[in-house]
């Protein structure tokens, strides 16, 4: 912080003015009055008026000099302040641009992750239906083949059909392998920080009438993929916003789970591994029992056609499973929904 000039030497203008006034008085008293009084008497009959006028001019000039110094000081100070503000502004713009850039990168990574996950789930869904088709072809072909003579052309041709189905089977196995084993880098991540980043990403999309409360316990680290955890939060919070139809409260709560917590016993989790709990609650319209049972099912949606893919919560489910965690859903019609996520805590 630059110290303003007026604060460094605020007395300077007063000193200059004071000295000027004193000099004026001295000149008036010693020179004009005592030494050249006689000359002036001869030259000017109104010498007393002239001496007073000179005194007045001297004092005025001194005050003016003080004022000019003060103005220069203020100008210098304002310029310095403006320069300082400009530097700060430049720094802030650079910081904002950097933040914007990293936010964009994060959004792209998130979107990419969502897309990959969606493709994986879609591929899994296609594989499921394709396996049924393939199974029907194999079954019918085998039955037809059984009825034919082993040496007949029909028998051989049906054998070729079965060979083709074998290739189809291998292709499906590869698609399934892709949908099940997408590689994600796992690192030690700060859960609370990850939530804060996700919230900053979501902020522009959440209506002002929806309140988001985040209560966190200190130092919660997990081993996981930050983008995937973002996906979990984005999907659940987006659903919550939709469920509240533009008005309500979303509460996010993180906490360390004690080893003797009944929730862990219920889920038969070992007492050696420590878990943390992430709860996301909304005050939306809630779900009935039938919807709750199917909520994590791929392609299941209660939203209008074109508004929901039905993949969001199935993605959430598979991500939590990939993180060796558990996700529980608790909801009641008209009383909102709570997702409870347990994740193994990283202690080192």
């Amino acid at each position: 912080m630059i110290t303003p000039i007026s604060q460094q030497k605020p007395w300077l203008p007063y000193l200059v003015a004071g000295i000027g006034i004193v000099i004026s008085f001295l000149l008036w008293h010693f020179i004009l009055w005592h030494h050249i009084e006689a000359y002036l008497d001869a030259l000017l009959p109104y010498k007393s008026y002239l001496s007073w006028l000179m005194l007045l001019l001297g004092v005025s000039f001194s005050i003016l000099a003080g004022a000019i110094i003060r103005i220069i000081q203020l100008d210098y100070e304002r310029t310095a302040l403006l320069n300082q503000m400009q530097t700060m502004l430049k720094k802030e713009i650079a910081e904002r641009m950097l933040a914007e850039e990293s936010k964009q990168k994060l959004e792209v990574a998130l979107l990419q992750g969502q897309k990959l996950q969606a493709i994986g789930t879609l591929a899994g869904g296609i594989a499921h239906d394709f396996n049924n088709i393939l199974y029907a072809i194999i079954g019918y072909t085998e039955m037809l083949r059984e009825d034919e003579d082993v040496n007949s052309l029909k028998y051989n041709n049906l054998g070729r059909v079965l060979e083709a189905t074998q290739r189809g089977r291998e292709l499906i196995a590869r698609i399934l392998a892709f949908s099940r084993k997408q590689h994600h880098e796992f690192d030690m991540i700060d859960l609370n920080h990850t939530i804060e980043t996700a919230l900053s990403l979501l902020k522009p999309t959440i209506p002002a009438s929806v309140m988001v409360q985040f209560e966190s316990s200190k130092d919660i680290s997990i081993v996981g993929n930050q983008t995937q955890i973002h996906q979990v939060l984005v999907n659940i919070i987006n659903n919550a916003v939709d469920a509240m139809e533009g008005e309500g409260t979303i509460t996010i709560h993180t906490t360390h789970l004690p080893p003797d917590d009944p929730l862990l016993k219920q889920l038969t989790k070992t007492s050696i591994q420590k878990y943390c709990k992430l709860e996301i609650s909304d005050t939306g319209h809630g779900m009935d029992q039938a919807t709750m049972e199917r909520a994590f099912e791929p392609f299941f949606t209660t939203k209008e056609v074109g508004k929901g893919s039905g993949l969001g919560l199935s993605i959430v489910h598979s991500i939590i499973k990939e993180h060796k965690g558990e996700i529980l859903l608790n909801s009641q019609l008209g009383h909102g929904t709570t997702f409870t996520i347990l994740l193994p805590e990283c202690l080192s």
Binding site: H128, N132, L176
Partner: protein
């Protein structure tokens, strides 16, 4: 040979499996979902049930857990087309709920028929004892 309840929502697979089982001299009762299967079980007493997992109205998982409570002696074979969330997980779950064997589609029908014979044979032995 035996009365088998086949629960499968896919027409192609259901009709094909019906023929496969009938060719092996089994009597086949067909249901297109878990709910239909529950209705059948109120009227009929099949020796064995072959059920798909992912089905509308009532899934195979729900059906298996219900059947094991109401008809503990009924042998169950779970079949799944794979894909979607975690098919092997579904099949593992179906076995932990009480299915004796599980198969991932496309199934080797010879292996399926062998499993059926083995289960029916062991069931007869249990009843005999």
């Amino acid at each position: 040979m035996a009365k088998i309840l086949l629960v499968e929502d896919d027409d192609l697979v259901r009709d094909m499996l019906t023929q496969v089982l009938q060719r092996a001299s089994h009597t086949v009762l067909c249901a297109t979902n878990g709910e239909e299967a529950t209705h059948y079980l109120q009227k009929e007493k099949p020796d064995l049930m072959v059920t798909d997992i992912i089905m509308p109205k009532k899934s195979g998982i729900t059906l298996i857990s219900e059947v094991k409570n109401r008809h503990p002696n009924l042998e169950i074979i779970a079949i799944s087309g794979g894909g979607r969330l975690d098919p092997t997980g579904y099949l593992d779950l179906s076995e932990s709920l009480g299915a004796s064997v599980s198969f991932e589609k496309p199934i080797d029908n010879t292996a399926l028929l062998m499993a059926i014979d083995l289960l029916l044979h062991s069931k007869k032995e249990k009843v005999g004892n």
